[in-house]
Structures are given as structure tokens and as C-alpha cells.
């Protein structure tokens, strides 16, 4: 072997070693990325976004179903049909969608909803959009989840005015519904029950998730919000609104007394006290979610305000004990409108016809 040959081999060896080193570096880099470890050079995140990420969370990418009420396709179709079916009401005039209208932010935009025999409800109908993410349902939290909630208004005398027996009798008389209940509850001996009516509607409602530009912002895209909206977010957080309206729902996760700083006018409705009879719960309500708040007027449990401006002003006064300036109110409202989500595109369902044995509508 000549000296020259040995030198050449040494060079090849060191070149190979260098290559191996580089490859190792690359692989470890990929591995880090795959493990979700932070990249070596952090992208600049604004302090505002960092603060927002501490208070709020983006909506889940997929609906979250209950373990004991999985989102089978047949059940979701069934739930949607039931949601739109006026035969769940005694008069055949109202469906769930009458008061929780998917064309208008999941509400009816009335102070109180009109029900059976033109009677009127006692509280403003809350939106069904993203409702499944809340701590509980109804303004007073008396139903655990959307499945339990859905069973309520059908039987309420001032709402749909039906009975469990009537609902079951009507549904049992319609072969397509009988089949769908079997497909939706394949492991149940008795698929068509009143509880399953609520479960199917609830499962459908869990699909009603409406991500907004604010979710894109929370995921790190600073430009998803306009400057005026970011300014509004800053005001919203600085003033303390985010201390109650927080989390994934920007509200909806807890209860607060309406009137921490003085009692608002006309507080006839005692809120959660009506359920618990605990004096601590007088005027306590579930903190409403601010998602789609632009669409879900009028505001508060009694629909007392028709504009966001008036609602925000009152919140400043009674919850924060502060007179917000018109400029501050306007700024917060601009931010709130960025919470209007894109509702999933949904087809109008086609409902199966009644039969000769279906109990006919009763307006009385």
C-alpha cells in the first residue's frame, strides 16, 4: 500500500464520518419535531396571543360524544330529523328548531320563546351551537348535558306541550323512525324510548360546533384577527371579562351571580336558586358562552337587551363595577363579533310521513 493510497482512504473515512454526523443531526431534528418538541428557534408570539392562549382554548376539531351515547351515523341522522320534527309537539307547530333555529345562530331571536297556545317561556332561549361543551344546560344548569336538556322542552306545557306517551306513540306509528331507532341503538332491546329521543337529539347537537377566526388566532395565526379586533380582545381581557367568559366556550363553564356590583333592575327570576333553594344561588346563572354572540340577541336570561353595546355596558356596571366608556364598549363589541363562527353546512332533512295510526295534532 502506498502512502498516497492510505491518505486517500483516510479522506474517504473522514468524509463518511462527517456524513454520518450530519445524518444523525438531521434524524434527531426530525425526531424532535415528531415528538412535538419546540423548534430550536421560536417564532415570535405576541404577548396578547400568549395571554389569550392562557385564558381561552380553540374548539375541538371533532365533536365530543358521551361514552354511553356514541355518535353512530344512524343516530346523528335520526337526531337531526327529530330536531326538525314538529310531531314532537302536541300541536304539530313547534320543533326544537323553532326556538333553536339553525338559520339564526341556534336561537329564535325573541325575548322569550312562543310555545303551545301562544304561551310564553320564562327565559331567553339559549343557543344550541356549541352548547354541548358547557358545564351544564339551561340558564340554571338544571340539566347535566344536551342529551338530558333535549328531553325538557318537548314536555314543557308552555313550550311543545307533549307527553312522553304521545311522542312515543307518534314515532312508533312511523316505520322509518322505528327502523332508524333500531339502527341508532343496535344493542338495545327497546330502541324506541323517550330517553333515546333525547340521546339522539343530543348526539346531533354535539355536531353543532362553530369554529371562528378567533380559534385560528388562538392556534397561533396572529393575522386571523384584524388590529381592531385584537385591540378589543386586549380591552376584554384587561377589564376582566375573560375571568368569567373563559375557556373553550368563552363562557359556559361556570356560574356567577348576575349583579356582583349592585342588583340589576327587574330581577324577578332568581336563577339557580329556583333549582337549589340555596340562598347563595339567588340571581346566579350559568355564564353564557360568547361564541356567536353577535347572532344570539336579545341578551341575558331575560333578553332585556337587543344590542351588544347595551349588554356589554351592563356587564361593566353590574359584574365589573365599572362604567365602561363608549369607546371601550365599542372596542369589546368589535372583538366579540370575531367570535361568530362558521356553522357547518347542513341539509334540510326530509322527514318520513305519518301513517293512519299516527295521533293527529292537538292545538288545545
Amino acid at each position: 500500500m502506498t502512502t498516497r493510497k492510505i491518505l486517500t482512504e483516510k479522506r474517504v473515512l473522514s468524509a463518511l464520518l462527517a456524513c454520518a454526523f450530519l445524518i444523525t443531526l438531521l434524524i434527531s431534528g426530525f425526531a424532535e419535531a415528531a415528538n412535538g418538541m419546540p423548534p430550536k428557534r421560536k417564532p415570535r408570539v405576541s404577548p396578547l396571543l400568549l395571554e389569550a392562549q392562557e385564558s381561552f382554548a380553540p374548539l375541538p376539531d371533532k365533536p365530543i360524544f358521551k361514552k354511553d351515547n356514541p355518535g353512530l351515523n344512524a343516530k346523528l341522522s335520526l337526531g337531526k330529523m327529530l330536531f326538525f320534527d314538529t310531531r314532537l309537539s302536541k300541536s304539530n307547530v313547534f320543533s326544537c328548531n323553532s326556538c333553536h333555529n339553525l338559520a339564526t345562530g341556534g336561537v329564535d331571536n325573541n325575548q322569550f320563546s312562543t310555545g303551545h297556545k301562544w304561551q310564553i317561556g320564562g327565559r331567553n332561549a339559549p343557543t344550541v351551537l356549541n352548547a354541548s361543551l358547557h358545564v351544564a344546560q339551561f340558564w340554571d344548569g338544571r340539566a347535566e348535558d344536551v342529551e338530558a336538556q333535549a328531553q325538557g322542552p318537548i314536555l314543557a306545557g308552555v313550550e311543545m306541550g307533549a307527553t312522553k306517551e304521545l311522542v312515543i306513540k307518534r314515532l312508533e306509528s312511523i316505520p322509518q323512525y322505528v327502523t332508524l331507532f333500531k339502527e341508532a341503538y343496535p344493542d338495545d332491546k327497546k330502541p324506541l324510548t323517550y330517553k333515546h329521543v333525547g340521546d339522539a337529539i343530543g348526539a346531533f347537537e354535539r355536531m353543532l360546533i362553530t369554529p371562528s377566526r378567533f380559534d385560528i388566532y388562538l392556534k397561533g395565526h396572529e393575522n386571523a384577527l384584524a388590529n381592531a379586533e385584537k385591540k378589543g380582545l386586549k380591552t376584554f381581557m384587561e377589564k376582566g371579562c375573560g375571568s368569567c367568559h373563559d375557556g373553550m366556550g368563552i363562557g359556559g363553564h361556570g356560574y356567577r351571580k348576575f349583579g356582583l356590583h349592585g342588583t340589576p333592575k327587574n330581577m324577578k327570576d332568581k336563577g339557580r336558586y329556583e333549582v337549589t333553594k340555596d340562598k347563595e344561588d339567588i340571581n346566579v346563572f350559568k355564564v353564557p358562552s360568547l361564541r356567536n354572540i353577535e347572532l344570539t340577541y336579545p341578551y341575558f336570561h331575560d333578553g332585556r337587551h337587543w344590542t351588544l353595546e347595551a349588554a356589554v355596558k351592563d356587564m361593566g356596571k353590574y359584574q365589573l363595577g365599572e362604567k365602561l366608556s363608549d369607546k371601550e364598549v365599542a372596542s369589546i363589541v368589535i372583538f366579540l363579533k370575531s367570535l361568530t363562527g362558521s356553522p357547518p353546512k347542513r341539509l334540510i332533512p326530509i322527514l318520513p310521513p305519518s301513517t293512519a295510526t299516527t295521533p293527529i295534532p292537538d292545538r288545545n
Copy 2:
């Protein structure tokens, strides 16, 4: 030139001539087909289908718009939104879709519709599906077309209870509607008028065409109907049902007295007489279309019957002067169910929110 060569040339010539002849035949055949001329060998068409083709016609492939109300995309979107918008009612409880529900055959399946303050209409709500093809609108034909009809219920005291002024004031307060009216009526100095509200809703309604298996049958596909359905069609035509329920709508094209053979019970409503005050028009009504009749119960102008069987029996008695047997009735009903169409798949519209200047709902 040798004899052999000449023979070969002759063969080539005759081969060429034969080819030219064949090509001419082929071309003329194509030309005939292109001209829609009957093929040389007619496919066998059953006498039943031939007879049906003389009485009935398939639905048009495309919506038919009025010359002075063309179906611009912006207008169709606008019309659909207005059709679903409860703000066209005084109380904000009812939309066109409340009584002409696209989820249930374009009707509400009630004897009479419930309206403002729980009042009740005087006649059964007819379906909006295929209605644009009718000779006129309403049971008494008092509106010329769907555009004119759509203006009625919004103002009717027992239905939506609004005024033209209220409707315009509400729509003018919503910027998205103002823009859509401009796009829908680009050549009008004043795009947002009450007439245009009706025109937009009417244009949308012209899209609601629901072809059924019977249309496929009428187009020559004998197997589109099952044997029992064809038997029912035969009975339907033999008994004379098709003499009034004819044409594209299988009804909807003319007027007839309800009770050609004896007056039916409880005829309080004098029908077209209420419009014309002509004694000849007492108990005269528009012949309803039988398309989707399976879905549009209860039947007749006063919704007196909840089953097709009872309705067909009464038609035999009062219109044909014949007691139809249970078997004949059942057979006709089987045919009628083949008229249930496929409604076009439609998305639930998303409506723009009201503003601070939108007149709020009034339940009184």
C-alpha cells in the same frame, strides 16, 4: 393493361361503391337520430304507458321563471333566505317555511295552519312543491302565480300578521339584505320593495320541482313503476280520476266543483265563489296536484281526511258518483305513492343578524 388488372380495378371500384353506400346509410341513420325521428324498429310501448303519456306529462328538467322575474343567482339566494326568515312575521315566530315546511312535503301537515296569536287559517295550507306549475295559486286561484301568492300570508292577520311597512323597515335595517336586493334587482332604482320580496320568494319556489319515478315512467321507462303501481295507474285512469288530475302537475291546472254528485258534508267554505261571487263558482276549488300527495295530508281544502284511502273514497263518491271498492281504493293509493318526488337537496340558509335599528318582534 392486362385482363387481370382490369378485373382487380373493377373489384376495387365495387368495393369502394359498397363502402360509400354503407357510409351514406350510416350517416342518414345518424341524421335521423339527431333529428329526433323515430328509429326504424320501434321499441314496444305498452298501451298503458301510451295512454298515460296522453294524459300526463313529466316535470320540466329546469325551473321555469317568469320573463319579468328571471332566476338570477342572487335572487334565488335572497328568495330562499326570505322564505326561511321569521322576521317577515310580526311576532318573529313564523316564516313561509313554518306552514310550507320543506322537511315535510312543503306543508305543515295540520288541518289548518296556526298563525299570529294562535289564530287559525281557514283552509288547508297547500304544498309549495311544484306549485309554480299550477294555473293559479291558493285553493280559490285568487293569486296569479307564486310571486303574487308569496305576498299574501305575510300580511294576513291570522297568518304572519305583518304590514308592508314593517317588512321593509326590518329588511332595510339589515345591510346584507340591502346588498342582496341590489344584486337581485340590478336594473331597479329601488331594489328593496315589497313586490320584490314576493318576486324573490316566488323565484326560489320555482326551483322546488320534485321529479318522481312516475316521470321516469312517462319518459318511456316501463320498469320505473312496479306492477302494482301500474295496476293502480290503470284503475286511476279507468275510473276517470285523470280527467281532472292531469297534465304536468297531475292536477293543478283547472277548477272543479267539489261535489259533482251530491254535496259533501260541512261545506261551509264556498271556494272560488268567495272571489268571483258567481253562483257557478259555489264549492268550486282548484283541482289540487297529486304530486307528493303521500306527504301532504290532511286532504282537501278543509283538511277533512287524514288518510289517502279516505280521500280517494270521497273523490269516488262525490266526483265520480261511484262507490269505489276497498281493493280499487288501495290500488289507486299504491299508484299515488309513486308520485312522491325527490326534493332537491337544500342547505339550511344562514340569515344575517338584525341591527340596532331593526324593529323588534311584536307578539300582540
